[in-house]
Amino acid sequence: MIASGIKRGTAELAVLSVLESGPLHGYEIARHIEQQTKGSLRFTLAALYPMLYRLEKLKLVQGSWESSPNGRRRRCYRLTATGKKKLVPLRKEWSQLFVALRQLAGGSNA
């Protein structure tokens, strides 16, 4: 399992990344992240929604109520143009950080 501090920092990247493939509602976002990270990242309701609202306030995602084929009304989130733009440097930053950490961890093990 990844330490909780790192998880917090990567959470927004994770949410923005899963929304890249299309709009999802909150529960689907949490499940997609869990599945795609093979359970390393798991979002509880308490962690997910405050962050989604924050991302919405920053205009990185946009939430809207939509009706599913079975008539159930759900709030779906989609990535905005600003969010898409933000995702590129964000991925780069985190990738650089992980490379640096890997080097550091490798160095200390040697």
Binding site: A11, G26, P50, K86
Partner: protein, 231 residues
Amino acid sequence: MPDWRGLVRQRLTGIQLKEHEAAEVIEELADHLEDAYRSFLRKGLLEEECVQEVLREVSSWRDLRAEIESSRKREPAMNKRVSQFWFPAFLTLFLSQVALMLIQEFGPRDYLSPAASHPRMLPQNAVFAAWLVTLPLIGALGAYLSGRAGGHAKSIFAAVTFPVLPFLALVLIGLPLALIFDDHVARGFSIPLFFVAFSAWVVFPAMALVAGGWHLFHLRPWSGRSQVSGI
């Protein structure tokens, strides 16, 4: 099936959101809990176990309520406008006027001309030049305050150049009116004089103010302010 809406509504009682916003949040969170509950049921857990598992999604409803309030809270647009534009704009205007008054009061003094036909002369250019020197500093302060409040290029520029607006209004509105209604002004008016006045009270001060702000723009770029988050 447990009443998830009722449970969320009860746990979030007193949440500081507008009524419709609170209702939306309750509906959304209840949907999430319901989905989780159904998912546990599909995995073969007993109903009681499913409820227990779902309740683990939130360890502290009080903390969640506070986090939702803070993440959904929108700063009133007026506050933003005040901090990004009006406050720095009026501060730069006030400081530029104070600087002009102080320079006139304590700056270069009148002197006695040796020529008998010109007993006293005020070195206007010296006063103006001294005032112009102070403007980049005032512009830098205005740009800093507007930029620190999250102002974008337009609001920073508007706040920094605000002190020249009264002069601009005077030249563009006051002068034409004076030309129409005051014969004395009309007789003394000339196009070159108009350009000198326009340059002296609008163009040069604006350039000096922007020069000060411009320097600061490079130190504190206003783009990329909405950082997502680090570790």
